[in-house]
Amino acid sequence: MSPLFTYLVVSTFLFVIGLVGALTRRNAIMVLIGIELMLNAANLNFIAFWRFSSHAEALAGIMFVIFSIAVAAAEAAVGLALIIAINRHYKTTDVTQMDSMRG
Amino acid sequence: MNFKHWLVSFAPDTWQPLVSALISVAAIIFVFASLFALTTILERKGLGRIQNRYGPNRVGPFGVFQPIADGLKAMTKEDIVPRAADKVVHFIAPLVLVIPVFLALAVIPVGRNMAAVDFDGGILFFFAVGAATELSVFMAGWSSRNKYSLLGAMRAIAQMISYEVPLILSAVTVIMIVGSLSATKIVDAQAGYFGWLPNWFVLTPWGFAGFILFMIAAAAESNRSPFDLPEGESEIIAGYYIEYSGFKFALFFLGEYIGLFAISGLAITLFLGGWHAPLPFLIWIPSYIWFFAKLLGLIALFIWVRGTLPRLRMDQLMNFAWKFMLPMALVNLLAAGVWHFIEPGFARWAVCLVLVVGPYIMLGRSLFEHKQLAKRTYRYAE
């Protein structure tokens, strides 16, 4: 079990846990928390591969993660603003009750 | 440093790194905790004198043993946890405050070769652990299940987040000029003397403006007066730590003061030349004496400001951060860049002074535009 393999196992588990939360929880904020966990798992993957690659001085992994962190922060801000606005309209954050465009 | 090497040489070889690290940690905790005890008594007596009264003067000669009495009180007081409180979060909140602020002290170079760790990204580490303390404020406020506590916590977090931006931007001017995030390199860049004057960054136009901005933002980050609305003793009793008593309250108090020391230490590192002496013929005084002298000077400045200025209201506070300090910090960044590229001499002083003072006057005017201020009248008691 090489060290890279252990880091990939950790990131896989984090990704699947985030996916389960995003797909099954009722509250919209919990879905967003799951999405943030998935993004973080992907970042861990990038850094692990960067560290163990043979071209580590190109810093490509670190660059990608810098931009990924920035984009994830922007997306969390806009997503939470949307949830607050929707909550003002529907008076609930339950995703199963927001079905007015369904069917 | 020879003292520390002599101590470490007593330990067996394989344990030497661990023993060295433990000695650094023990030294930091011991020195700054004693400084905390000293500061509590200095603050109470200083505030008392500014307010035309004596401070505590019962416990020892001039009250110098008051911190011991305070410590005994904090340790033996009953620890009351409200019944509806969230016990785990209520318990962890003081720890989440104290641990990051002690971590932040690790990157400050206290003397020559005396920074506990020398990260390549030391200043970034400092701001990262500073940001982690905001979570403890929320945990303390929310877990007490008290409306006033939650309100105080929300206001404190809004204030801390708003003032983080000018704080980091004014630090970025120094980082930009030095070209490194490492605290020891920033101190080394301020070595040397220009005739009689030291090469500190505070003695340049952009450095002076940056220092003032940093000090104001540091007062707001540590929730000190005039920015202490979240914990204003005459407003909502104790804000987000209303429901804490005994040792946990003492931990919050400790965390706040150590945070103040850490951010003053960073101000000294960035602007006041770290452990360098101010005049070339005073170099024989050890470097850590200069650092602690400057630190005590900054603490005295904070106590003075606390005793003098009235408290800012919440909207005044936020307006000040976003509409004055943020544009001022950006203009300062521009002035620092201009300073770097003009040759040393009279021209760059003139240009940078205009670049800093001009926007300061214009921004100050624009903040006062919408107010109708009546002429101040005084009524004296007969």
């Binding site: 393999f5 984090l14 846990i17 922060a73 | 990262a128 929320f138």
Partner: protein, 165 residues
């Protein structure tokens, strides 16, 4: 696989599971902050110092607090009345299990798992800055634009509308 890595990895995964399964939303958000901190420790173990500190500064210091504010503003701090998992949770769990299977198969059948640790001792912040200003200048400008747009957009979306009745 060192002891410190095992402890940090187990703590991170446990915080992530807690973040997804607890009833009280604020506890979930705090467990998420704990998972972020564990991830920052993992980045530091991988010699990515800048990313580790940036993770704490951005995620623990800003995103976690943002989530907590949103929970409080949407009334999530009251205990939940209905079940916390939606009614179609079996399908969601099934999809996640399928994804887990695919990822595990991909991990086990890959050959590019290096055994040696290359030398990255010259990864300084200065080199990251140099690369950002020369090779990655266009993404840097685009990120600036994106963050500005997100800032303005979030404020506009969450602003209270004035009722014109």
């Amino acid at each position: 696989m060192t002891v410190s890595f095992a402890i940090i990895a187990i703590l991170t995964i446990a915080s992530a599971i807690a973040a997804m399964t607890l009833r009280n939303l604020v506890h979930c958000a705090l467990a998420l902050a704990g998972a972020f901190a564990g991830l920052a420790a993992l980045y530091l173990q991988l010699d990515a110092q800048f990313i580790g500190f940036a993770q704490i500064l951005v995620y623990v210091g800003a995103v976690a607090i943002l989530i907590v504010f949103a929970i409080l503003l949407t009334g999530g701090s009251d205990p939940a009345k209905q079940p916390i998992f939606s009614s179609g949770w079996c399908i969601g769990a099934g999809v996640a299990l399928a994804v887990l299977g695919v990822l595990v198969w991909a991990l086990r059948s890959s050959h590019t798992i290096n055994e040696t640790l290359p030398d990255v001792s010259n990864t300084s912040v200065r080199r990251i800055g140099d690369q950002l200003m020369t090779k990655y200048i266009l993404p840097l400008e685009v990120i600036g634009l994106l963050l500005t747009a997100a800032l303005i957009g979030a404020v506009i979306i969450a602003m209270k509308e004035e009722k014109t009745k």
